[in-house]
Symmetry: C2
Subunit: 226 residues, 2 copies
Amino acid sequence: MRASDRAYRTLLEQIQSGDLAPGTVLAEVEQARRLGVSRTPLREAIGRLAADGLVAQASPRVTVVTDIDADDIRALFAVRRALEESAARIAAERVADGAPGEPFAALAERWSAEDPQADADAYYATIAQFDQALDAAVGNDYLIAALRTVRTHLVRVRRLARDNPARLAASAAEHRLIARAIADGDAELAAHATHVHLHHALTAILASLADASDAPRVARSTPGAA
Amino acid sequence: MRASDRAYRTLLEQIQSGDLAPGTVLAEVEQARRLGVSRTPLREAIGRLAADGLVAQASPRVTVVTDIDADDIRALFAVRRALEESAARIAAERVADGAPGEPFAALAERWSAEDPQADADAYYATIAQFDQALDAAVGNDYLIAALRTVRTHLVRVRRLARDNPARLAASAAEHRLIARAIADGDAELAAHATHVHLHHALTAILASLADASDAPRVARSTPGAA
DNA sequence: CTGACGCATTGTGTATACCCAAGCCGCCGA
DNA sequence: TCGGCGGCTTGGGTATACACAATGCGTCAG
């Protein structure tokens, strides 16, 4: 693998996981030394992160990890709603038009069979499979690229708002409906179920954020509302 | 301005204008020499173009200008529909919620007053102003970034499909309705009028493409159907 | 004559050196 | 003592040198 790819993946992971907190300054020489690559591939990695919106130029000389607040999450979900509703609708239409619906039927089965107590990691792994099936079903590179950007940011949002088991179970049920609708070729239901799911997801995330600001963690990097 | 920015702008312009035809191989040393910059900033420019989807790695060693066909245009419009309908709806909602609607009222006026015989350049200049007003009204950086990518590709699509005066006049009327709906804060009308406009635009473009393949230009870079 | 192997060439990936601009600190003058 | 100016330091932008890998062509063997 190329050094620039390694640098990108490493920085992406560390930003998404919060190891590199929002506001952290990414100096080229320092990061290059830390990641064991030279400045040239590191610059390319930072450029890609900037294109993703995960870092930004605070001033002509300093690049910082971008922050994400409740307004960002609302804005992100507005885009997500637009793209995922379309994706669900198109996928269902294509299934109705003869494309294979088995992957979605299988996922719907997974979500009904799966232990609702399963941990968040298993849940998100299944979500990733669903996303992959959706991408394959829509077969639209432009849409996939746009969704990829949204998902990149979404990883950070999920970290900000830890899910509770009840929400996870409800979310699984919502996804079961979406997957079933796509498998059945019901475009309108797939789109509306997606809308409903995203509404609940956004509500839960914002509520979780409000809780977190009421009882902030120790060693919180940003001052918060407290 | 930075050398990498100059290289990016120049290459972007030349790809969008067709000076660099689809399939053209972009070798680093050759392009760096041609644009009068060194390989380092040129690599950054090519990287940005790759992120935009305007160039792609055909093989590990060759980067080529991507092609765009009827299927690409349909895929692009699927994304465009999702994003612009949302943008129009959100803009109208925000106007209804107290945001200034004057820019859209002024644009609606422009489109009703404007000479329907006006040339395509003037038409697209007004469209650009409308896009700018829309971006400002929605105030959603994630949505704006996604729309920016779509518009980047759209420039190439417009070049492929030369517009006729009748379509330009009809399109102006469609935009007048959209702008009025936003100015009036009518979100549903704004979204549906956008949907209708994009349907007509896509239909006209595909028809124009079909005409063009019936009577291909001389010196056409790709063999075409003829 | 054909196919495979090896060498040469070319171009990308990476490292590094140089240059310039911006920010900061200290000094001087008011 | 405070404000402004100038130099120094630091870091990003660019150019270039070097290394490696892939591709293409030529040659040799079957």
